[in-house]
Amino acid sequence: MLVPTLGGMQKRLFILIAVIGILAAACSSSAEGSTDAGAPQPVTHAELMTEITSVGEPSVVNSWASWCPPCRSEAPLLASAAKANEDVHFVMLNTNDDPANATEFIAQTFADAPMAQYADPTGQVTFAMGGGRGLPVTMFYDTDGTLVQIHRGILDEPTLAFYLDEIKR
């Protein structure tokens, strides 16, 4: 039985086309993965403080990063708290993070939570607000924008509930 076979030139051409196709697909998906569409936008300390003092309601600012396990662990608690407390302004400040990873985590965890999403690519905003080098850190402000409490480290449910009650009064 005659079996059609590819000649040497045809084989090399086929391999070349396949390689180009794979590279094109890889570049295409790479470009899609690194897109910053929907990524949190950078904010300055002054801009953030203006927002907190003018929003007319108490605020919670959480500095986080997608590479930080305690931040990821407390994120669902913050998301559910934001949904349950629409009279509190929640600000998530993505700090020292890769924008693509941050965008993916935001889509997974905070998609339907009423939260403002900002980026602090160098960590300077978090530092200026009173946070240290470690993450996560959460700052609680009353309606006037006065800092009530800085909580360093992971938040538990009773602590978050307590400080939400404090800043609402």
Partner: protein
Amino acid sequence: MEFTLLAAAAVGVGGFWSMLRWEARRGNAAGCALDLWDVGLTAGAIGLLGGRLIAMAQVGINPLADPAQIILIRSGVSTAGASITALLVFTFLARRSLLEASDAIGPSVLAGLAGWHAGTVITGSWLGTVSSLPWAQTAPGSEITRHPVEIYTALAYLAAAIGIAVWKQRGRPALGVPAGLSLAAAGGVRLITEPLRISLTGGPKWLYAAAVIAGLLLATWRHFVVRTT
């Protein structure tokens, strides 16, 4: 911050150990061959793990995909999941003499709960709703006075533990009655203090109510039905 949680847990374990020792010197667990310290700690540790895994599942974190998060106890433990897991583990470990072991360990578990709630002073989450009573306390940096709800809870658990332990020795109750009363007290104290607590979820009141009903049913059945037959 995790060290404060460990310290609070250590106070709880210390309360459990102290009551076990105190009762052991008065002939506790005479009909029970189990090492209650081992059984209690094993059930507690596995219960904690079960509660953490259930809490992770409830918020959509896959423990297999992100196993490091299992140890981040502070970010959430399901009270209902931990309690039910611990009870199941205890029931399995003490299956050969369940009522004897339950009677023997009941007051110690209440003392452990008293220690845990007292230990929340270390974690900083011991204040509840706003109060103007003379003993109301304020959080650091705050002027709002609040009920020290976890101290109320700790004192109520301690009173129940001592009361049941003393009555167990002097009153000679029917087998299973101290266990039933301990279970009812464990749920009842939380049910009564819950309105003074600040919570995002409201706490598993159904679990506390179920513990009260199950405990009272067990105690009533053992006291009025089994003893008289």
